[in-house]
Symmetry: C2
Subunit: 128 residues, 2 copies
């Protein structure tokens, strides 16, 4: 999530597994919109295998799975968010909003004032 010069990343872990993050949230939204894991992966530029593995990881991290697949053959089988999936996605987006709101204070303004628009050119390394 970008807020001017600030890049914020919120990730939820279940043990060492990434349960939710920016990419997985985008994938959930794409699945809800496209109605299938393969179509969602395609619009996000990832392979079916990759998108399937991300969905599987999410499904294993939460008390209920976030995505359910519907009967049907092949890669084109339908998929949709479960109620838990919709709840987790909404809560994650709300968390991102709360984080963004937390940056509206004076602190980020202080940093923004001091930050250049573009960096100066690299200096010659100090000689030893």
């Amino acid at each position: 999530m970008r807020i001017g010069a600030l890049k914020l990343k919120a990730q939820l872990y279940c043990g060492d597994a990434l349960a939710m993050g920016p990419g997985k949230a985008d994938l959930l939204e794409a699945i809800a919109r496209e109605g299938s894991i393969s179509a969602a992966g395609r619009v996000m530029g990832m392979s079916y295998r990759r998108s399937w593995l991300l969905v599987d990881e999410m499904n294993r991290c939460w008390r209920d799975r976030l995505v359910e697949t519907m009967p049907g053959g092949g890669k084109a089988r339908g998929a949709r968010l479960t109620d838990t999936g919709a709840t987790v996605l909404a809560a994650y987006r709300a968390l991102e909003t709360a984080l963004a709101d937390a940056t509206t204070g004076e602190t980020l303004a202080t940093l923004d004032t001091l930050l250049r628009t573009e960096p100066l050119s690299p200096a010659t390394p100090l000689s030893d």
Copy 2:
């Protein structure tokens, strides 16, 4: 920054250059404590060249440099934070605190309730 299952990362960019982030803030703190770039790099397990390049990148991203080196020979030359360096470091830490405070609401509690402690084992990939 870890808050239970949540990992938060705040990065400030100047163009494509990373002006401040968790690692650079830690390096600034180490320089303030150790009094030299090489000693700070050493306690953080990085080479002198690596720590010098990170300092140089920071110095080029802000209106004033964050670290100044003191006269003296070789890698052991002293270094300290400028006033701007101390200001930026404090503002970055304050931003992290504001972000952490923003996660104390109901949203993270909702997510925490639904999250498993450990993920289930990977499933057998769906056959195509």
